[in-house]
Structure formats: C-alpha cells, structure tokens
C-alpha cells in the first residue's frame, strides 16, 4: 500500500481548503444553533444525522457523544463533513439561513470527527458473531457503509476492492482541497477495526466471479460506482487526459502530475471544477472550462461554480470541442464550434446545436475531459436489470438477482450522485441484508 501522508509543495497547494475550527470557534458556533425540533437540517441530510443533537453535544464539550451521534447515522461522517454539498442539504435547510448565516454544520461535524479520529476513539464494536458471511464489492462510500453497518450487526464481512487503496472516490476522485487522502484512509481503517476484511486488488469479473462469491457468501452488495470518462468521439482524442485520472494523480502522486501552462477542461460538472482547480493551483497560467450549454444548465453546484470563478478560471460556454490539434505529440489547440440552445431534450435541458461556420481555436497545451462517467459495466456482465443504464434495485436495494444488492453511484438513475447518498444506500441495504439473513435463520 502507498504510504500517506505525503507532504510536498504541490501536495500542500492542494491541501485542505478550510482550516479546522478551534475548540472555542466550535463552541461559539454550536451555541448559535437554535436546536430546532424535528429539525429541517436532519430532514435534508440523506443519512438523517440528528444534527441538533450532535451540535448541542459540541456546545457542552461532549465531543465523544457528538461523534457517536454522527456515526450512528453515517459511518463516513468524516468524509461527509468535508465533501457534502451542505448548501444543498443541511445548511441549505437551516432556519437561520433566510435572514442570517446558517450554522456551519459541515465544519462542526468535521470538528467532532477530527476529535474522534485524532484521539483514536472507536465508537462501535463488532456485533456478536452471527456466522453469516456477506461480500461487498467496492470499497467506496456505499461499500464501506454497508460493510460497517453489517459488521456492527455481527456478520462476517469481506470487502473486495480492485484498487490498491479503499475509499473509492473519497480517496481517488475528490481533490485534496476538499478531502485529504488520510481522512478516507482513516475511515477504511475504522471499518476494518469493526472486523471487515478488506481485500484489495480484487476486481469483479477479472479475478473474482459471482460463482466464487455465491459459494462462500449468503449475500452480496455491489458498490461498484461508475466507469471511466466516456469518449468525446473527436479526432485527436488520445491526447486528451481523463479528468478522474488527473484528480487521482493529484492525490496520490502530485509531484509527478504533468500540468500544462494553458489548460482546457472539457465539462462543467463538479469533477470538471476539481480538474480546473488542480491545474490552476499547480501552476497553469490559464485555465479554461469548455461547456456546450450555458452556466444555467451546468451540473456543478452553485457554490462550486462560485468557488472556481474566484480561483481565476475562465469559461467558454456554448462551446463544443470538435478536434484536437497537436504537433509531434504535443497538444497545440482544441478546435471548437459555437453552440446555440434548442428544444428541451431528454435530460430536461435545452439541447445544444452547432452553429454552422462558427469553428474557432482555443490555444491549449493540455486538455482534460470531465464529462461524467460511463454506466456500470457490471450490470451487463451479471445480466442485471437496469434503469437508464444504472443497476435497477428494489426499495430494499436488491437487484434483479435475489441476494445481490447494490447501492451508490451505480444505482443512481435519479438525482445527483453524491457520497452521502451512497452512504445512505449502504446503510439501508445493510438493514435489508440483515433482515434477510436473520429471516433465513
């Protein structure tokens, strides 16, 4: 396993953006919380953390109790404290938001989580052994949450992960600015201390098959996430860098990440913003985000868009790449065409149409694409029923194959994919799996 943390000038440039709250800051902020009853922040949180409860505990300096209140609802509370789009969730629903400033719920949660991890406090023990074995595929947020919840209930868990490190996108796909690798690693270790056996380098379909699993395990949970960035389908595409790989290297090997001077990022989602942030912070003199629709249709959260504008990144909206120009293997420019918005398409957004004769060149020495992820290939492999290409599951998170459950980004046919939704899927699937195992004696 790669050793962390690494501390270099480049890694530091992508270090966690927000400093931790001091004890006093946390207590003062916690005291501001009104302690709403049946609080809207709790309702808005996909994992329904009892937020007034954990905040009150911070205000009384019961940090251990606070951490437990968080983790009872969300085992990946440390990751979620950092990566959750709180403006869209808890903080967005805070009753103080309308006329004042909402409570800094995310940062308070981080305060309680930092306390627990900093002190090495384990708040849960493995449950009394049931002798039931469950396999979880994918050590991302959904898989970790599901495995941890089942281990708390005494089941014997094996977590298979194809990568070297657990944590999924928390480890590889979210820039260090928002979540350092160590935070995700600490959560993986906490899940391991609950008795979950983590086997890395195990890829479903390559060196792991359903037949193997069916022989050994009473139930299987798939938390496999999504695939690679899809192709743009334009000439010269082999010169374009995959945004997810760009982010990954910035986290695990920032010193050797090649960053251009004039970087074009194709896409306008949260991952594209992360790529642009990396390029800007690691020395690019100009970064341009290219998107075929306008800022009104972009999928990045409004607060992320605000952030990247302040980072000094340029935007070229209504722009579609059509060709990469390179000389001797070196990128020179991205040829694009202007778009105009037409009728509403299947995604509910106006469909962009090329404007004839509007081709132009964007000078670039590095092009990164972050235009979403491919649908999970596992669905076809296992002949699972799908919905819009995502794995279809029942209300109990069970796939079309009995005993095979799924959660996280791979089932997210509706709504925005997010870490916290994945954690909740894992938690609810674990409840269903537990009930199945108990019912089947």
């Amino acid at each position: 396993m790669t050793e962390f943390p690494q501390s270099t000038a480049r890694a530091d440039a992508l270090g966690e953006l927000l400093p931790p709250l001091t004890q006093n800051e946390a207590v003062v902020e916690a005291a501001r919380c009104l302690m709403c009853y049946d609080a809207p922040c709790t309702h808005a949180c996909p994992t329904h953390i009892d937020i007034p409860k954990f905040i009150k505990k911070i205000s009384t300096n019961n940090l251990r109790g606070s951490a437990r209140a968080i983790l009872e609802a969300n085992l990946l509370g440390a990751t979620c404290a950092r990566v959750c789009p709180v403006q869209e969730l808890c903080e967005g629903a805070c009753v103080l938001g309308a006329e004042h400033k909402p409570i800094a719920i995310g940062r308070l949660q981080r305060h309680a989580m930092d306390f627990a991890y900093g002190k090495g406090i384990d708040l849960f023990q493995p449950g009394k052994a049931t002798g039931k074995k469950v396999a979880v595929i994918g050590a991302g947020p959904a898989g970790l949450s599901c495995a941890g919840e089942l281990a708390k209930r005494g089941h014997s868990l094996t977590l298979f992960e194809k990568r070297d490190l657990g944590g999924g996108l928390s480890t590889y796909g979210i820039i260090g600015l928002r979540e350092p690798v160590e935070v995700a690693m600490a959560e993986v270790k906490m899940i391991e201390r609950l008795g979950v056996k983590v086997e890395t380098g195990k890829e479903f379909g390559a060196n792991l098959s359903l037949t193997d699993l069916n022989a050994d395990f009473a139930a299987v949970f798939l938390g496999v996430g999504l695939g690679a960035t899809p192709a743009l389908g334009i000439p010269g595409e082999d010169h374009i860098i995959d945004g997810l790989e760009y982010i990954e290297q910035s986290k695990v090997d920032a010193d050797n990440l090649v960053v251009g001077d004039n970087v074009v990022v194709v896409g306008a989602g949260n991952t594209a913003i992360d790529c642009a942030t990396i390029a800007k912070r690691l020395g690019a003199s100009r970064v341009t985000m290219v998107y075929r629709r306008t800022e009104h249709e972009m999928t990045a959260y409004p607060h992320e868009y605000d952030f990247i504008k302040r980072e000094g990144v340029n935007f070229s909206f209504l722009t579609q790449p059509i060709r990469v120009h390179s000389e001797n293997g070196t990128v020179k420019s991205l040829e694009c065409v202007r778009m105009s918005l037409g009728a509403t398409d299947a995604s509910g957004r106006p469909s962009p149409q090329p404007v004839a004769g509007s081709e132009f060149f964007l000078a670039a020495d590095q092009i990164v694409k972050a235009i979403g992820q491919q649908k999970p290939s596992l669905a076809a492999q296992l002949k699972l029923k799908t919905e819009k290409g995502f794995i279809q599951v029942s209300a109990n998170f069970e796939t079309s194959l009995p005993g095979i459950y799924a959660g996280g980004d791979c089932i997210r046919a509706r709504g925005a994919a997010s870490t916290v939704m994945a954690v909740e899927d894992g938690k609810l699937a674990a409840r269903a799996i537990h009930e199945r195992l108990v019912a089947h004696g």
């Binding site: 916690a30 709403c36 049946d38 808005a44 969730l89 967005g92 009753v95």
Partner: protein
C-alpha cells in the same frame, strides 16, 4: 414624540449628591484607585462609589469566578475579593485628588469598619475631610468581612443596621447611603431600619451568596484558592430580576416608599435598557460594576446615549420624570384579574419553523400547538419518508406551527422560547367574564377558594374550561 431635537436632561440630584448623569461606578474593583476613577470620569461616568475603605485586609487569588452560558461570557461573576487592600491614607489622598479634579462628578466613598461607634465616627470624619460628596455604608459584602462581624453580618440584622447608621448620622455632614444586602428574606426590614436611623438614602443590591461552579477535572470549587473555594458575591446580568424585585419592594413599602427616601439601584445593569427599567421601578441613581468589568469604562457612552434617546422618544425631559413611573404597575397575585385572557398567535410570515414553540408547548406546557402540513392536515413530528432528503424537500414539506387558540391557556412559554423578534404575540382576547380578582373571590365567595367541588361548580357557571 415631542421635538426630536430636544435632548433629555440626564443630570440628577440624589439626596443632595449631584451628578451630570445617573451612572455611577459601583463600589468594586473598577473604583479601586484614583487613576481608575480619573479614567472613568474621562469616559463620562457621572459618579463613582469608591471601593470600600475601612478595616485592614489581605486578599487572595484566584478571586473572580464567572458563569458563562450558551457561548455568552460572564452572564454573572462572583468574587471573594475583599474591601480595598490599599492603605487607608493612600485611598483618602486619592479621593481628595479626584474630587478636586472633578467638581461636577459625584464621588461617594464606601466604608466598612468594626462595629464600634468611635471607629465609625473616625472613618466618617476622615472621609468628609477629603471633600467627597457622599458616603455609602457597606452592609452587604457577603464574604470575608461578614465573618468578622461586618458587611452582610450587619445588613442581615435590621437592628444592627439601624444602630450603626445612627452612629454614622451623629457625625455625618454629607449625604449617607445605606447599602443593603440581598441575602435576607425580606429586603424591606433593613431598609426600614435605615429610614428609622435617619439615613439619606439606600442602595441595593449588593452581591448574592453563591458558588459559581465545580471544576469537573479537579473537582475543586471555582475559583480555586489553593485547592479550596467557597461562597462569593454573585453579580452581573443574571441577578437583574432579583434586584428589580427588591427595588420595587422598597418603593411599594409604606414606610420606605412613603418616606420618599431616594434609592440607588444596582444589580446587573449592563445596558441603557436595564437602566431605564431600574429608573421606572424607583431608582434615583444607577450603579454599575460587572458590565464595566467585562467591557471597560467606555460602556457609559451608550448607557447615556441610549437612555437619552429613549427619554426623548418617550417625552421624558429629566430623570426624575422617569423615576418610579412603573411602581404603580407592580401588584400582587391577589389583585390580578382572573378574567383577563391572552392567547398566543404566531405570525406565519415571520416564523422560521424551528418548532421550538411546538416542543415547549407539547412537552412541557399545555399541548395547544399543532404541526400543520401543506394540505391542512395535522401531522406528527418526524413523519417524513426516510428516503426524502435535500434542502428543497426539507424546506418545502416542513409543516407550519399553529396555536389552537381555544385551548391556549396563555402561559406565554412559546413567546419566551421563540427566537424571532415579534413572531409570537400574546393577543388579548375577551374572556367574556366580568373582571374578578382572587382577593375579591376570597371575600365574596370564600367557599369557592376552599372547596374543589364548589370550585368546579363556579367554573361551570363562569364557563372556565380547563383542558
């Protein structure tokens, strides 16, 4: 509002002691030295009651404990500091210096000595020699001095108060204020003693006996003096309601109030709003300590400015127009109208849906607030689908809170817990019953007040329904 340009006159003449505004530093650490009082006067304080001088003492550390709550520092302070530990001569010299430099300000000297007539005579004469404007007799200090038969040991026994005050009045040529301790079951008694002894004024309240807290790591008392701690004098914003009640009790007493003896009010005055309340309940001058210890002498600026603006707005030309203005509103339960009815009403436009009124009413009061969903149905808390989440969902599906006015007893708990200004109002609703007080009922239908069956019939007759 009469002419906004007219500035109220804040000056006072308190028992013959004049000061340009009613705000005096209370006898306490802020008035410990000439240098401090000079600076306080530069900041605008109308007067200062010099930190008590008298018997020799030695102090300890730590001296001050504080009570913090909800992120707010120092809602109250307590102390085991004694009277001035600086030599008597030094204090007297500095008092004379300050008075010479500040002719328009009130310099009052607090004194506390052994309970012997000759000792009191001596200290009073020496204070008068400084040119000070008045003397305050410290019968209130609850720690250290009381164990030596001084301070609250005097204040708690009206006869001692009266005796010592008489000794003082035998030689006093300047106004004498008797400072009362609140550590007594009836504040009126020592005040009557002061009247009987011929004192010129009283002041209240001194500090309350208190233990501020226990250290949860060491199990020691806070503040900790070499591993020990004990009761100390409690003061600050938290004691204000106690002070207001005692102030009003004096004003309403036929002997004390009837004597028209001026009262200097203190106990938790932090803002001009507190000051105005003390004035309305009969204080003729105002003393401040804890708020100064928290924020420094500068606070006098807003004390004066805010009070002056409020007086202008309300049409008060001078302080004496305000003094005692609310005393006629203070009464007893026996005189309250049992037919008066108020119900809570929630302004749905202002409501932020924190549901604090709901839980307070539902758990601890009279269960008359409902959660109403968008479709008008009454819903229970936490009744949303666990798979529902997100800002829009949480905000848009949140029920609103409504008072069932027919069931509201008008307890006012919801009004008190509501974090939004003017969101919940207590609305006067005619009960339809003729006014009657408990006192009147006890006289006219005594049996109703003594027998539950008769009470039941009375309620039925009057249409008083208890939910």
């Amino acid at each position: 509002m009469k002419g906004w340009w007219r500035m109220a006159d804040l000056s006072i003449n308190f028992a013959g002691i004049r000061s340009p505004n009613p705000f005096w530093l209370a006898s306490a650490p802020p008035s410990n030295s000439g240098m401090q009082v000079h600076r306080a006067f530069e900041a605008g304080w109308g007067g200062a009651v010099w930190k008590t001088i008298g018997a020799p003492v030695l102090n300890v550390s730590n001296r001050y404990g504080a009570w913090h709550y909800g992120g707010q520092k120092m809602l109250a302070i307590n102390n085991v500091e004694l009277i001035s530990d600086r030599p008597l001569e030094t204090n007297l010299r500095e008092i004379a210096d300050v008075k010479r430099a500040w002719l328009d300000r009130a310099v009052i000297v607090s004194a506390m000595v052994e309970s012997k007539p000759e000792v009191w005579h001596d200290i009073i004469r020496r204070i008068q020699d400084t040119g000070a404007d008045g003397i305050e007799l410290n019968y209130g200090c609850p720690h250290g001095m009381s164990e030596r038969g001084m301070g609250s040991a005097v204040g708690q026994v009206p006869e001692y108060c009266e005796q010592i005050t008489r000794w003082v009045m035998e030689v006093a040529k300047i106004p004498v204020i008797v400072k009362l301790t609140p550590n007594i079951s009836d504040i009126v008694m020592p005040a009557r003693a002061a009247v009987a002894a011929g004192a010129n004024a009283v002041s209240l309240i001194n500090t309350l006996n208190s233990i501020i807290g226990v250290d949860l790591d060491t199990f020691e008392i806070t503040p900790n003096i070499g591993g020990k701690g004990g009761h100390g004098g409690y003061a600050g914003p938290a004691v204000k309601p106690i002070a207001l009640n005692m102030l009003a009790a004096l004003g309403r007493d036929s002997v004390v109030g009837g004597s028209k003896m001026p009262i200097s009010g203190m106990g938790g005055i932090s803002t001009w709003r507190d000051a105005a309340e003390f004035l309305l309940l009969g204080a003729g001058s105002l003393q401040v300590c804890t708020a100064v210890m928290h924020y420094g002498f500068r606070i006098v600026e807003d004390l004066c400015d805010g009070l002056s603006n409020w007086m202008d707005e309300k049409g008060f030309a001078k302080i004496s127009d305000v003094v005692g203005g609310s005393l006629n509103r203070v009464s007893d339960f026996n005189n309250f109208d049992l037919s008066f009815r108020a119900v809570a009403r929630i302004d749905q436009q202002k409501c932020i849906r924190c549901n604090l009124c709901y839980v307070a009413c539902n758990d601890t009061a009279h269960q008359c607030i409902d959660l109403i969903a968008r479709d008008g149905s009454v819903v229970q808390p936490q009744s949303y689908d666990i798979q529902a989440n997100g800002r829009e969902e949480a905000v848009n599906s949140r029920p609103s809170v409504h008072v069932r006015e027919a069931d509201c007893v008008g307890c006012r708990l919801c009004f008190n817990v509501c974090p939004v200004e003017d969101c919940i109002q207590m609305i006067e609703e005619p009960s339809g019953r003729p006014p009657v007080t408990w006192g009147q009922l006890s006289e006219s239908q005594r049996e109703v007040t003594e027998d539950w069956e008769k009470m039941k019939k009375y309620r039925e007759k009057m249409g008083i329904e208890i939910h």
